[in-house]
């Protein structure tokens, strides 16, 4: 029997979808190893109201650390608290998320445990004493199969690879204290600035609409935003050319040096399809491209393409999507 640890990422008092994906991944590992899932969540007073959530997604034990100083992410408190718990729990594996927070936290925790870590994991297996994972390298152009021999095996899942699955467990709740005094932290997040209210995040949105130079000017991104609004469940991204020109913030950039997205539907608007952009979106389930150049490389990866002027096609598509949504 071997138990599995999951770190449940939260922002403010809300559990993030990637946190529930980590719990579901840990559940899959625990079922293979014949053990329990122990999930840790940290946050400000009130976060304990969210404790049933990890239970619904398969956690046997939910450890809740509430503290007034945890309204923002505290890397040092989270590292110390997770590392202490993993050490004392004797876990076979610890599962994190490959998010901005998980990328920060997982390697710190692993280093403290004296083990390595693989981030951006797309699949995993238990093989004897090793956990074998697949992890894209070289901007997704090569897939590596890696054997992790350290124990616990620390992995961080790529977002949107695991579908959070309801797998209700009693989810015994334990309350715990931060492993270090938050006021002693040498790194302090003094503010978390939310993007536009209710704005869907690129990594989590089921639909991503991205715009490129073909839009010709910053203000024409309105076409992309209108299409996203018609879908209702879409986030807006951009190419590096566009963020370098300041039309959109760097945080919107999809590509090799930017964000990696893998939505159900990706619509490329006026994007030629440079290698550096394809690296960020090629694992999307369905890709649609609209571009006036029929030879644009984006059409090589697109499931469906329309050759045409984005200023004509996108408003027509927006109208058609709006109509289609009405009949749902």
């Amino acid at each position: 029997m071997a138990n599995i640890f999951a770190f449940v990422e939260s922002r403010g008092s809300d559990v993030r979808k990637v946190g529930l994906e980590a719990v579901t991944a840990a559940r899959m590992l625990a079922d293979k190893a014949g053990g329990e899932v122990h999930a840790l969540m940290l946050g400000p007073p009130g976060i304990s109201a969210r404790a049933p959530q990890p239970g619904q997604y398969g956690a046997d034990v939910v450890i809740v650390v509430e503290h007034a100083a945890l309204a923002n992410y505290s890397p040092e408190v989270a590292t110390a608290t997770a590392a202490d718990r993993i050490k004392s729990g004797g876990y076979r594996a610890a599962v994190f998320s490959t998010s901005a927070q998980g990328r920060d936290l997982a390697p710190r925790v692993a280093a403290r445990l004296g083990v390595s870590v693989v981030t951006d994991v797309i699949s995993f297996e238990i093989e004897g004493d090793s956990i074998v994972v697949r992890h894209p390298v070289n901007i997704g152009k090569v897939i590596a199969t890696l054997a992790i021999s350290g124990s616990p095996a620390v992995i961080a899942m790529r977002p949107n690879v695991i579908t959070p699955a309801q797998n209700a467990k009693a989810g015994r709740v334990e309350n715990a204290q931060p492993a270090i005094d938050p006021s002693s932290a040498r790194v302090k997040v003094i503010e978390t600035r939310q993007g536009g209210s209710g704005k869907l995040d690129l990594a989590e949105a089921p639909v991503v609409i991205a715009g490129g130079r073909g839009l010709k000017a910053a203000e024409n991104f309105k076409l992309v935003e209108d299409l996203a609004a018609a879908f209702g469940n879409a986030a807006v991204g951009a190419t590096r050319a566009v963020t370098d020109d300041g039309w959109r913030p760097h945080s919107d950039q999809i590509g090799q040096t930017g964000r990696l997205v893998s939505p159900e539907l990706y619509i490329a608007v006026g994007i030629s399809g440079a290698v550096q952009h394809l690296a960020g979106m090629r694992t999307s389930k369905t890709i649609v491209a609209v571009n006036k150049d029929k030879d644009a490389p984006i059409f090589k990866v697109a499931d469906y393409g329309i050759v045409g002027d984005v200023f004509e096609v996108i408003p027509a598509l927006t109208e058609a999507v709006r109509e289609a949504k009405k009949h749902h």
């Binding site: 004296g114 590596a144 199969t145 040498r186 790194v187 040096t257 649609v288 329309i306 027509a316």
Partner: protein, 246 residues
């Protein structure tokens, strides 16, 4: 700062005969973009703080000396090669070797790129910080230093964090922090005379082994539905009935 030599990604990669390494024939190598921004950040601080020194460290075989020379030609003062036959995938092993070397210098700031595109793991910076017991901020896109303290911005999914930290610290650099300078001809000449020390890397046994590398399944060829706005109804139909995403 710690830098890595990485292949240009704008190619079709070939897997080597051993199935666990890349066929490097024809690949062009250069400094990792994120590391170039880390070098630039360090150089800008050096310019603001006369008397400070910028050391650049890279782990790997002798070819990494080219990468170190590039950072020296941008303006870094001295280089250290931690010599190893190859760079292991295991980021903890790399972090341990770097930490051994970094412990010997009294650095105020240690910069890393936030990740490298080849191994795409992004763990060496924060792991090194943990091993050294130093404060660490990852993926910074702004930086101000004053009175022994720093402030940075980090991009999150749909949000930003403003982070304050104490020095000395480890920082990993995201895109957007700066634009890396090109080495000047004068810089390239000067770099040839700058010290570059070669030491064996103290690499521990690895905990992660590469079992296999493979090329991902190609996306099946798509189709052009039609031209112009007239093709929209057909596209919408396909999204509803075939892709089932609408």
């Amino acid at each position: 700062m710690c830098i890595k030599r990485v292949p240009d990604m704008d190619v079709r990669f070939k897997i080597g005969a051993d199935n666990v390494s890349l066929d490097e024939a024809g690949l062009k190598f250069d400094i990792n973009d994120f590391d170039a921004w880390a070098v630039e950040a360090a150089l800008q601080l050096k310019e603001k703080n006369p008397g400070s020194e910028v050391t650049v460290i890279s782990l790997g075989p002798d070819v990494v000396q080219e990468t170190i020379r590039k950072a020296l030609s941008m303006g870094a003062d001295r280089g250290v090669q931690l010599k190893a036959d190859k760079v292991p995938f295991d980021g903890l092993a790399i972090a341990k070797a770097l930490a051994e070397e970094l412990r010997t210098g009294a650095y105020d700031l240690i910069f890393f790129g936030k990740m490298s595109p080849d191994s795409s793991n992004g763990i060496v910076g924060p792991m090194t910080a943990e091993l050294l017991g130093l404060p660490c901020v990852t993926a910074i896109s702004s930086l101000q230093i004053a009175d022994g303290k720093g402030t940075s911005k980090r991009e999150l999914e749909g949000a930003q964090e403003i982070v304050e930290f104490q020095l000395p610290a480890v920082l990993t650099v995201d895109e957007g922090l700066n634009t890396a300078r090109y080495p000047s001809l004068k810089g390239i000449m000067a770099a040839k005379k700058k010290p570059l020390e070669v030491k064996p890397a103290q690499l521990p046994p690895v905990q992660i082994t590469v079992r296999k590398l493979e090329l991902p399944a190609e996306r099946k060829a798509g189709r052009v539905v039609g031209e112009g706005a007239a093709a929209v109804p057909e596209l919408v139909k396909l999204l509803q009935t075939e892709a089932k995403v609408l």
